[in-house]
């Protein structure tokens, strides 16, 4: 029993440590990637003992700065809520990662270990719940600031998040129908099948291309990333965290990156086969032309984890690229897109999926 | 009376008038270098050439007598071409000195070249080198290269001063103006050659490199150097204190007035303005310690209160030593405020003997307004001499002795001055410059100099002329009139509010003083007007 607990603790440590570090790295990636896109050089200073490492230490410097900066709390605010709001944001973003399976089952002797912090049957619902609770951070931040602009910013942000949550949820119903499960681990396993004579792996993107696009768009809006960053609008628009400074602001900032990674993980898990590698079965590679390459379980797991990591990083990269490509939506356009664009498309997608599944006779 | 036509306009002129003078009457300006109305005609610069109908070649306007029916064109194509050609000749050997030349900006070569120059030069040869920067006299610097041989300066020394220092030597392009051997240009009117010189050949040594002429502001005024009252232009700079070692007045130029000084002025008056910026009294001083007679800086408020209290004490016996350097307006206020109301006895020391003079402009009396004081009744027959006033002060018969401008040490000797200073009598001094009397006074009130205020002088011939306010009063100094009016307010003397301006005082003065009857500050104008005693001249002016 203690052994199982220790294993869970290790897994949790690895996941949260990895995710937090990735979020930290995001600040660096954000700077460097935008610099390359815009023909600049980007942050390249902050040397430690003369080593600059392409400016990687700027992330460290940022963290130090955030921690040592004066934490300004405006007069008259609700101090408890004001302190609690950024914590809520980060907490719910972080715990959502518990349900993400980042590798196949590892078999060590007799013990079978799920590479997942918490194996939850209704993992998808759990993640949704956590994402929705993230709204609390936003609304509390605006409410606790005792600042009209902050409240307006938070109301705007809340409206946006709630609106897109609907499109997001409905977009995923199609996926649920295809996989027939809410368990993300099982959903990933379901994507191990192939079609077209074994040539094409049946990933979510193949089964639900429209769902994927809707999901991706809604997820970007849900995480308040560009082109949907109206609630934040770092330099131009008054947002819900105007009255925050120092590490409290840093936590909102961190939440932003965590949610981006979470969406990348979800997109990978649901639409890009999670830890699946094309043609790789638990016992080895089964290529469509008939060749086979048997592999040990630990190599299989290693390949799976690597595959998952690479896919997530690739999504992060693409999100970042989109962030530096597209201009921001206007608020009315944002609402139009959510309610008049994504929502009907998602509903139609569910209907079409149901009809197709009945026609194929594969559905329950 | 021949009638001729210049540029299509007809003009009647007396017999013997030259065309250039006739054109002047029409307001047509013909460019000239050698011609000067105050000198004989030389006709050597050829700049004033004009087109005359039926004349085979252009004629010089300065030496062409006007004849009946003459038709002259000054702006015809031919005339302009002639000028361009003349300028080309004159500039052949003229150095490109404009950046370092003090004449630049008021140079006739520059000005005419702008209008008529040959902008595409054809001169490829070497210019003839001559001597530069020759000190020909105490006031004048000669640059032979820049000279265009107009001979104005030669004619001036021959005809006006009759000293004949200058001559033109050598021939052709080596001709140069210079001094005769053994001569120095040190006659009392030497600096007039600088004004005459149309180019930068003759420049003033005192003004040399002090400023560029376009920095100068100009104010019309009257020279205070002697009782002649030559009309002047004061050239000053207020916004560039680094120039001229901080002195504000840079130079004085004579101003044309046919009735006083014509075009000229003497060197003594021209260069006698150092006192305006040197050793000036800039702050009110008060004696603090009777024994050591130590003075400290004080304020106008304190000084006016102190002096006013002493003056208004019942039965105060007041003596005033006035100065002929004061303007009529100051003297009038002095007379009204101190004399008429407070019963002050006003003395005016006579001009010191031995002042230089000649039969041209320079007068022996070196004060500018003695005539004006006389017209205002200062001193009248009843007032004692300055010495008598000082004696009265020593004897304790005076409560206040107010000295304007004069150095008592010069007037009555150091011993008496000191005796007057240690007595019971309150010694008030107001004046422009620092000297021995200043340190002995109980109160020192700094006055503005004549060029720092508006007012009028009456010259030796009885001509009332306006002094222009060129500069702001030095330091904390104030116009005499201004603090006399303040004293009036403190002693209960009736003084009129419009006396704050010179015109207002003058108007009252014209009412009160017969000699100024019928004049106003405006009617005097920039050329002056004669006061009443010289009635014959005044009538001549009116006609």
């Amino acid at each position: 029993m203690i052994e199982a607990l220790l294993i869970k603790l290790v897994i949790a440590a690895v996941v949260f440590g990895g995710v937090l570090n990735l979020a930290g790295l995001h600040t660096w990636v954000e700077r460097k990637q935008s610099a390359l896109i815009q023909d600049r050089i980007g942050a390249n200073r902050a040397p430690i003992f003369g080593f600059k490492l392409l400016g990687l230490f700027h992330a460290v410097a940022d963290a130090i700065k955030m921690f040592t900066k004066e934490d300004v709390v405006p007069r008259g605010v609700d101090r408890t809520l004001h302190a609690l709001a950024p914590f809520f944001s980060v907490f719910f973003a972080l715990v959502a990662f518990a349900a993400i399976p980042f590798g196949p089952q590892l078999v060590l002797g007799e013990r079978v270990i799920d590479l997942q912090v918490a194996k939850i049957d209704a993992a998808l619902l759990y993640i949704f719940a956590m994402l929705s609770l993230g709204v609390y951070g936003v609304i509390l931040a605006g409410f606790a600031s005792r600042n009209n602009y902050a409240i307006m910013g938070s109301i705007r942000a809340t409206a946006q998040m709630i609106s897109y949550e609907i499109a997001l949820g409905i977009a995923l119903i199609g996926v649920l129908m295809v996989y027939g499960t809410m368990d993300l681990g099982k959903a990933v396993e379901a994507q191990g099948h192939t079609i077209a004579g074994g040539w094409i792996p049946l990933w979510g993107i193949v089964a639900q291309p429209v769902g994927f696009v809707v999901f991706l768009t809604a997820a970007l809006a849900e995480t308040k990333r560009l082109p949907f960053d109206l609630p934040e609008g770092e330099s131009e628009i008054i947002g819900y965290f105007v009255e925050y400074s120092g590490m409290k602001f840093g936590m909102f900032f961190l939440t932003d990156f965590l949610e981006t990674i979470l969406v990348a993980c979800l997109a990978t898990t649901l639409f890009f086969g999670g830890w699946q590698v094309p043609y790789l079965q638990p016992d080895g590679f089964h290529f469509p032309w008939g060749a086979e390459l048997p592999l040990a379980n630990w190599i299989y797991v290693l390949l799976g984890v690597t595959s998952f990591t690479i896919k997530v990083l690739a999504f992060c990269f693409v999100f970042m690229q989109i962030r530096w490509t597209l201009p921001r939506f206007r608020y009315d356009q944002l609402m139009d897109l959510g309610w008049k664009g994504l929502f009907p498309i998602a509903v139609v997608n569910v209907l079409v999926t149901a009809v197709v599944m009945i026609l194929l006779g594969g559905g329950a | 009376m021949p009638e001729l036509s210049i540029d299509g306009r007809k003009v009647n002129v007396p017999e013997g008038t030259t065309v250039i003078e006739a054109a002047e009457q029409l307001g047509i300006f013909v460019p000239r270098y050698c011609y000067h109305p105050g000198l004989s005609t030389a006709g050597n610069c050829r700049m004033c050439m004009v087109d005359v109908e039926n004349s085979p070649k252009p004629q010089i306007a300065c030496n062409l007598p006007a004849t009946e029916g003459m038709v002259v064109e000054t702006e015809s194509e031919q005339a302009r071409k002639d000028r361009a050609a003349v300028l080309e000749f004159l500039l052949a050997n003229h150095p490109l000195d404009c950046p370092v030349c003090d004449q630049a900006g008021e140079c006739d070569l520059q000005n005419y070249y702008m209008s008529f120059g040959l902008y595409d030069p054809r001169f490829g040869e070497q210019k003839v080198k001559k001597q530069k920067a020759i000190e020909v006299g105490p006031h004048v610097m000669l640059d032979q290269e820049r000279c265009i041989l107009c001979s104005r300066c030669v004619r001036f020394t021959d005809e006006i001063t009759k000293t004949g220092e200058f001559g033109i030597f050598n021939r052709g392009d080596r001709a140069e103006v210079g001094l005769y051997p053994g001569e120095t240009l040190d006659n009392p009117y030497s600096a007039n050659v600088v004004d005459l010189c149309p180019v930068g050949a003759l420049t003033e040594r005192s003004f040399r490199f002090k400023a560029r002429v376009w920095y100068l502001s100009s104010t019309e005024s009257v020279c205070g150097g002697c009782s002649r009252g030559c009309n002047t232009e004061l050239h000053h700079v207020s916004n560039r204190p680094h120039l001229n070692d901080g002195e504000r007045l840079l130079r004085v130029k004579p101003r044309h007035n046919p009735d006083v000084n014509q075009w000229w002025m003497c060197d003594e008056g021209r260069y006698g303005h150092d006192w305006i910026d040197v050793d000036r009294l800039g702050e009110v001083r008060r004696r603090t310690d009777e024994a050591s007679r130590r003075q400290v800086e004080s304020t106008w408020e304190a000084a006016l209160d102190g002096v006013g209290t002493a003056l208004s004490a019942g039965g105060a016996r007041v003596g005033v030593i006035a100065s002929a350097e004061l303007t009529n307006e100051d003297l009038f206020c002095l007379r009204e405020v101190l004399g008429a109301h407070l019963g002050a006895r006003i003395a005016l020391p006579p001009a010191p003997a031995g002042g230089t003079s000649d039969d041209f402009l320079i007068r022996p009396d070196k004060t500018p307004n003695r005539k004006g004081a006389t017209l205002l009744g200062i001193p009248d027959a009843a007032t004692p001499s300055a010495e008598a006033l000082v004696d009265a002060a020593i004897a304790g018969e005076l409560d206040v002795l107010w000295v304007f401008g004069h150095d008592l040490v010069e007037l009555v000797g150091a011993e008496k001055t000191r005796a007057a200073a240690v007595g019971e009598c309150l010694l008030v001094y107001s004046g422009t410059n620092d000297h021995a009397t200043v340190s002995l006074a109980h109160w020192v009130l700094p006055s503005a100099a004549a060029v720092e205020q508006d007012g009028t002088f009456v010259n030796c011939d009885g001509r009332v002329q306006r002094v222009g306010r060129a500069l702001a009063p030095y330091g904390d100094s104030r116009e005499n009139r201004r603090f006399l009016l303040e004293i009036a307010a403190r002693t209960g003397t009736p003084a009129r509010e419009d006396w704050n301006g010179p015109a207002g005082v003058f108007a009252t003065m014209a009412e009160a003083v017969g000699s100024f009857a019928g004049m106003s500050y405006e009617s005097i104008g920039d050329q002056g007007a004669h006061s009443a005693p010289s009635e014959a001249l005044a009538e001549a002016e009116q006609s």
């Binding site: 990637q33 023909d39 989109i322 | 950046p99 490199f209």
Partner: protein
């Protein structure tokens, strides 16, 4: 009132779909990204160094190339004998719209030069870098070609340049020693008049 009808561009079907347009945008950003990434890596290996990967100049270490006509800090041209070429004509002082130039001229021993400045100050805190002084100078005595752009000081006083710094742009405030041997109002020595013409003229029998 005239009404101007503005034709707003109508989106086509494919544009309304957003996705093709987003892909177009991404194509541009991806192209830049991978081009610059490739160039940066190539530069690490010393290749393709003639192509810049970014437009950035790393300022304190790497100075931006200056266009030859750029107006930078002033300098006074110097004659062969170490005296200024300036003849103190004060045209620059006259033309200066900011009135930042102060010149005090004096007599030069050579009558062919006649005039020179014993004091020539430019107050850079006031200067507007219009270049009129250069334009107007009849002697080509003042130029604005030193390439010095980092003009900053901690006091207004230090923004004022005198003959020392103007004749030798290498000098920076505070100037410690005076190397001028002709007469001048020496800013190094508190404005007193220093130097004589003998040494300066002995250095060269005739100016350049």
């Amino acid at each position: 009132m005239a009404v101007k009808v503005v034709q707003r561009p109508q989106l086509t079907f494919w544009e309304k779909l957003y996705i093709p347009q987003i892909l177009c945008g991404l194509r541009i950003t991806f192209r830049h990204f991978f081009r610059n990434l490739f160039l940066h890596i190539a530069h690490r290996f010393g290749r393709k160094t003639d192509v810049r990967a970014g437009v950035t100049y790393q300022y304190p270490e790497e100075l931006r190339p200056l266009f030859s006509r750029l107006r930078t800090r002033h300098r006074l041209m110097v004659r062969g004998n170490g005296a200024p070429r300036c003849v103190g004509c004060m045209l620059c002082e006259t033309v200066c719209p900011a009135k930042c130039i102060t010149i005090v001229p004096a007599e030069h021993p050579d009558p062919d030069v006649e005039k020179f400045p014993v004091r020539f100050d430019i107050n850079l805190g006031v200067c507007v870098y219009c270049g009129y002084c250069v334009e107007v100078c009849p002697e080509d005595a003042i130029r604005m070609d030193t390439g010095i752009l980092d003009i900053a000081a901690t006091s207004r006083e230090a923004m004022k340049l005198d003959l020392h710094e103007l004749m030798n742009p290498e000098l920076r405030k505070p100037v410690a020693a005076c190397g001028l041997d002709f007469p001048h109002q020496c800013g190094v020595h508190g404005g007193e008049l220093r130097g004589s013409w003998e040494e300066t003229l002995a250095a060269l029998t005739h100016p350049e």
